[in-house]
Symmetry: none
C-alpha cells in the first residue's frame, strides 16, 4: 500500500519524524526523543537513527548539539518561499498609509501585466510604507477588480498583503521580481522626504495565483538605506 517497504530504513524513519513534526506531536523548539529512545521505539540501529536525524539537521528541520537533546527548529524554513532570498526592511516600528485606492477604467500596461481582457477593470492602490514614523517606500499596486475589493479592506493594516489574502483563500504560487534602480520623481521625493533624483531601489513584482494567472502587479520604490535585498546562491 504505502510501498514504504522498499525505501531505505533511514528514509522511512525520516518520514516518520517529519510526520510527527508536521502533526505537532513535537512542537518547534521542543526536544525530540533521544537516540536511544528512538532506537527502542523503531527497533533499528543507532546508525539508522543518526542518518535520519543528520539528514533533517542538514535541512534545518532539526537542530543537534553535542550533549544536549535534539530539537525541532523554531523557524522551520520549510522553504516554501525563501530559497535564499531575503527582503528586509530596516526599522522597528512599521506602518502603512493608503494614499489612493480606486478602480481604473484604463491602464494599458497594468492590464497587460495582469493578463486582463480589454473590458476588465483594474484596481489601483497607492501606499506609503512607514518605518519608525519615516516613509521608506512608495508602492503602486495593481490587482484585478475582484481581488481589489478584498484587498482594500486590509491594505491599510498590512504592507505584505499575501498572508491576509491567504485567509480569503486567495493563494499564490510564483513570484517574479525585477530589481532595478531609479531616480526619484518630484512626487516620490516629496513623499519620501528626499531630493528629486535621489536613487531608489525599484522592485517590479508579478504574483501568480494557483491557476498561474497573475493576481498582482506592483512597483515599489524603496529608499536604499532602509531596504536589503539579499540573494544567496549555491551551497
Amino acid at each position: 500500500m504505502t510501498k514504504q517497504r522498499k525505501l531505505p530504513l533511514y528514509v522511512q524513519i525520516k518520514n516518520k519524524l517529519v510526520t510527527n513534526i508536521k502533526e505537532g506531536v513535537w512542537q518547534p523548539g521542543e526536544a525530540i526523543p533521544s537516540e536511544s529512545q528512538l532506537i527502542e521505539q523503531y527497533n533499528v540501529s543507532r546508525t539508522t537513527i543518526r542518518q535520519a536525524i543528520q539528514d533533517l539537521a542538514q535541512k534545518n528541520v532539526l537542530e543537534t548539539r553535542r550533549g544536549a537533546p535534539t530539537r525541532v527548529r523554531n523557524e522551520p524554513q520549510i522553504e516554501l518561499g525563501n530559497p535564499g532570498i531575503i527582503h528586509h526592511e530596516l526599522g522597528t516600528d512599521f506602518d502603512v498609509k493608503v494614499l489612493r485606492a480606486e478602480t481604473l477604467k484604463e491602464h494599458y500596461y497594468a492590464s497587460y501585466q495582469l493578463q486582463l481582457e480589454e473590458n476588465e477593470d483594474v484596481y489601483l492602490i497607492e501606499r506609503l510604507r512607514i518605518a519608525d514614523n519615516k516613509p521608506i517606500a512608495f508602492q503602486r499596486m495593481f490587482v484585478p477588480l475582484p481581488i481589489g475589493e478584498k484587498v482594500t479592506t486590509f491594505s491599510a493594516e498590512a504592507f505584505d498583503i499575501f498572508p491576509k489574502l491567504g485567509e480569503h483563500n486567495i493563494h499564490h504560487t510564483n513570484i517574479r521580481e525585477l530589481v532595478s534602480a531609479s531616480n526619484a520623481t518630484q512626487y516620490e521625493a516629496d513623499l519620501l522626504g528626499i531630493i528629486p533624483g535621489g536613487a531608489l531601489i525599484d522592485i517590479e513584482r508579478t504574483t501568480l495565483g494557483i491557476d498561474s494567472q497573475p493576481i498582482e502587479y506592483s512597483r515599489t520604490r524603496y529608499l536604499p538605506e532602509f531596504f536589503h535585498y539579499r540573494v544567496e546562491i549555491g551551497k
Copy 2:
C-alpha cells in the same frame, strides 16, 4: 603545528580531499580514488572516509553515484542550487577595460569581507564593463593576493571571472549578493557618461571557495537600463 591533530579525523580527511581538488591533483569531472583505496591510503575506517565524502558531496564539491566512482563536480551548479536568479546585461557586443589593478597595503573593509588577517594584502581591480562601445558598469573587485595574481592575467578578457578561475582550479560554492541602489559619484558619472547623482544598481557580492573561505568581494554599479536582475520564487 597545523593544530589539525585536534580536529576530528573525518574533518582532517575532508581537508585533504579539498586540498587535492584545489591543487588540481584531481581535476573537475575526474574520479577520486575509491573508498577502499582511501581507507588504505589514510589508514582509517570506511565510516570516516564516507563521512568526509558525504559532507563534500552534500556541499556539491563531490558527486557520488551508487556503483560508480565518486567524481569532482564539473561546474559547481550553474542552475541547480539556483532559485531562479537571472542577471542579464543588455547589449550585443561586450568588452572589459581594466582601469586599475594593484596590491593594497591597507583596506580595512575589504580585508574584513575577505576574512583576511591584518598582515595579508588585498588585491584590487577596478574595471569598466562595456556593451556596444558604451560603458554600462563600474566594478571594484577585491580578492586575496594569491588569487589576484591569477585573476590579473585575464581580468581584461572576461567580465565574469569565475569560469576562468575554474580553469585554474579555484572553485566557488556560495555567492551572496546584496542588491541596492546608489547615486553616481562624480567619478562614476564621468566613467559611465551620465550626470552625477544618476541612479545606479549597486551589487555587493561575496563569493566563497570550496573551503568556505571568501575568494572575492566586489561592488558593481550598473546603469539601470542596461542590467536586469530578476528573481523567481516559488513553483
